[in-house]
Symmetry: C2
Subunit: 418 residues, 2 copies
Amino acid sequence: MDLRSEVKGMAKKAKEVSHLLAHLSTDAKNRVLIEMAEALEKNQTFLIEENRKDLAAGEKAGLSSSMIDRLRITPGVIQGMAKGLREISSLPDPVGEIVRMWRRPNGLTVGRMRIPLGVIGIIYESRPNVTADAAGLCLKSGNAILLRGGSEAFHSNLAIVRLLQEALNRVGIPEEVVQIFSRTEREAIQEMLQLEEEIDLIIPRGGEALIRFVATHSKIPVIKHYKGVCHIFVDETADLEMAVKVCLNAKVQRPGVCNAMETLLVHEKIARDFLPKVGKALQQEGVELRGCPETQRILSGVKEAKEEDWYEEYLDLILSIRVVKGIDEALKHIATYGSFHTEAILTSDYKNAQKFLREANSSCVLVNASTRFNDGFELGLGAEMGISTSKLHAFGPMGLEELTTTKFIVYGDGQVRG
Amino acid sequence: MDLRSEVKGMAKKAKEVSHLLAHLSTDAKNRVLIEMAEALEKNQTFLIEENRKDLAAGEKAGLSSSMIDRLRITPGVIQGMAKGLREISSLPDPVGEIVRMWRRPNGLTVGRMRIPLGVIGIIYESRPNVTADAAGLCLKSGNAILLRGGSEAFHSNLAIVRLLQEALNRVGIPEEVVQIFSRTEREAIQEMLQLEEEIDLIIPRGGEALIRFVATHSKIPVIKHYKGVCHIFVDETADLEMAVKVCLNAKVQRPGVCNAMETLLVHEKIARDFLPKVGKALQQEGVELRGCPETQRILSGVKEAKEEDWYEEYLDLILSIRVVKGIDEALKHIATYGSFHTEAILTSDYKNAQKFLREANSSCVLVNASTRFNDGFELGLGAEMGISTSKLHAFGPMGLEELTTTKFIVYGDGQVRG
């Protein structure tokens, strides 16, 4: 079959079964999630063997050791996927929830009922665990899923999906609820992005280049997350001991993720006091510092921060630092260089806390807490599908609710419009 | 200035002032809405004179009398616009609302705060009143607006926007909060649709061709409404007297709008009883009936409904009728031919009412009420910006809330992630 017919055929099947999935009981969905978790655990050897084919190909192709690492399926990774699926089974089912209900003067009772989006396409890079996580979240929220994973994880992804589909079959749910493209050509993505009748939402996960490619070519709505240039502003009245602790956590606890701090903004009135403290703590953890001229005057061992540094998502043990006149300059810096991801203010001042919460234009704004908390699980949404930095439909972590929409329902007794 | 620079320059200004607008007090926004209403009323002569230029050009260009009618600004139309703006001023301000707030085990208090989207582009056809309505809704929801009206209403739209901007100036708000393109080339739309950095949302209003053009060319998210093929299913147990009344209202009260009924589905067990009753009432109102063979057997004066009739949005005094075996066949018909807009069931059966509400996959589903109620004002949202038939972000009427998004806000006292 040619590529176009194959992609379209899969999407059409997904659309068909999505209607059934939309009205599946919570019990049935939870049962299949637990079946899926068990299937992964019971077939550890099969998964690891299939994964070995990808690892061997990856090594031959000269993938970096960090990429090989992300590709590798260990018993621990399998446990993690199974645990994730069980957790999703324990989360409340968003489908069918009546978000609100009110009565109109003419006696109509009007409400908004949560319903699935339909079919969700996920385009992602080479982390096989995304396959199970994304399938679980879509299933629980009543959406059929079309997966298109990175070609480096080809055998691993097919093996995971085969086990998930077997679990679906055992519970009597059509396996087309979870499908994966077996074609790795980039053209398969392009074909997929044209299918606005069959696919309701595209979520690209991975590097900025992939996400921009998808956003440019898609006729289907895309929820995207380009990058996280996250800031902490340490205000004049901050508790400096707490500030050192929070800044350290935001930068070094896991520097390679999108909610790690990339730029530190410090109020000029405390810069001479605070910068040596935080600088020492960060340098002890191996963080390279790049600062504005004022930072360089106060701290030794600091490189010059160039204009492009303020835009940079290092995803590494590097931090840019700027001394600012106060909250207004901090907010202006964030508005100019930020990425709408995560910003925190550390302060003891009530008015500045409220002002920052209101005016920082990002998906998550925190007072006196680490930027690392911008995460679906940490914020209390349960598991997440990614973090959206665009404002339409979802802004911030996307949990189960964000994979649904609402329709209006109306109970009447013969009302007509006058 | 060349077209591209002009369009981009306006969008950049809109983005700049959108930050200010996002934090404007409700009082200030309401004050300017009332100033705007007064400005329209006080300058009736100016508006009617400017409108006359469009009417003259339209007549010269041979516009149909119904198009000339929609284009015409009368004292009544001006009153309507002013009333609309005053109503928007009396609606609750969605910006800053904390939608929900909860506490995490580690003591973090997490909430979701409503914020504006930023800059909204509206592309619409030749009804000058849309200019004032859209500007008012965007202003109240804290969004800057870029208007691109139909070229037939060129002078009328410029005149309305000039008055709105003067009102903004009087209250000390930058007039760039409401801008209109003075270039009528189609290329201006195409340039606008590229500006994903400056514009957050595009709402096209008008014919299906315009909307498809926008959806195909836009890099910016689009909320769209293609058409309303609305159904009423009259179940076996319906109160037939009420059913006649509701069907008549849904078809003839205002046949040219998107929430009017286009197809009537009738349960076979009551068809012989119900069709003559409803057929007579509809035919008395001048409705042309097109039916399935069974309908034709029961009712006289009914044309044959062809396959394409079931897809048709007549927007006229025409109705297609099909006799079905029951609720499942009705839902299947709607899933095949429907447009995700509005569906109603008329029934006395509890189980079928609940089943239909759940399974009809449209933006508004009603029991025992006219489809004409799918309207922002009628459902209790206040004024509306249009009705979305796509599921992302907004599904159904878009009121002020649908012109906003939420960000996460977090109150901590030094929490770090472990």
